[in-house]
Symmetry: C2
DNA sequence: ATCCTAAAGTCAATATAGTTGACATGAGAG
DNA sequence: CTCTCATGTCAACTATATTGACTTTAGGAT
């Protein structure tokens, strides 16, 4: 679902009431991630790397198995991006003192910096939009998104 | 960025103010497309096919070059899903009467039906969420999403 | 007729992101 | 010493994309 960076929102006939909203969900996701993806690409990273960094930042000392579960991917799919992050020393892994079976993951300083900067790009876009509609509008946005997200 | 169907929203520490919103964008997109993707998979189709059907439904007699532009993909990337849709007779193509160079695309009855049903799944999720917050909340959601979408 | 161009189609190589299956390693637990 | 759990790795495959090079199809211009 990746698009050329400069691609404008297409203007299509609206066949149904909610077509505009449907299209906004698509372009909204893209709009939020556009700058973050460009920043990550400059670092030689991409979305899967960011997802790993994002989760580990919020769950320091997470085991690899738990990370797999949260991301919802196979361990084989995790392998490549995770190893790159370890090689680049954005993450470190160590056996836990008690649970020697598990390896615990943690961000390094450099990892924290990249995670924060990538996520900052996404939060900046959200902040500008929320500022424009004010607190009640932002709350309504959250309420709508929660209902949609919990559709699963 | 696809996830297992039954995957619950992970509960992560919020490091920043807008982390919750950031995660909602991710899970919102997934929540909206979950049932549509399941329906499409049952038809042996997937997201790229739906995107083609969606656009052609709203731009009958669109030329292939314009479709490429709107979707923002290369013609090689369009080739496979487009040919499948033609083989399955969900789309028909014909040279236009005057502009014989262009091939114009159009949905067949079967194509219209599948496009409508897939999009219905997405619109249903949106409708339920909008109903819950009422018209002002829905308008706020749209306003936020427009600002985010136009970030490009 | 011949040449030029635009639109579409095709072929090959590559990248990314994922899958399943099979098997190996490292480290307690009995 | 063996069993099991967590992790790691190898191979084969699928899907979705890319860029580059080339062909085909059909009109337009001279």
């Amino acid at each position: 679902m990746s698009q050329a960076a400069g691609l404008h929102r297409a203007s299509l006939e609206k066949l149904h009431d909610l077509d505009a909203a449907l299209e906004l969900m698509y372009y909204g996701w893209r709009g939020m991630t556009l700058e973050a993806d460009a920043y990550l690409a400059k670092q030689g990273l991409s979305r899967p790397h960011h997802r790993i960094l994002y989760v580990v930042a919020r769950r320091p000392d997470i085991a690899i198995g738990s990370l797999i579960e949260i991301l919802g991917v196979s361990k084989q799919a995790l392998n490549r991006p995770l190893n790159l992050l370890l090689e680049r020393k954005l993450l470190i892994s160590q056996r836990s003192p008690e649970q020697h079976r598990s390896k615990l993951l943690r961000l390094t300083g450099a990892g924290q910096r990249i995670e924060r900067r990538a996520s900052d790009h996404e939060r900046k876009v959200l902040r500008e939009a929320f500022d424009r509609v004010g607190a009640p509008g932002a709350a309504a946005w959250m309420a709508v998104m929660e209902t949609i997200a919990d559709n699963s």
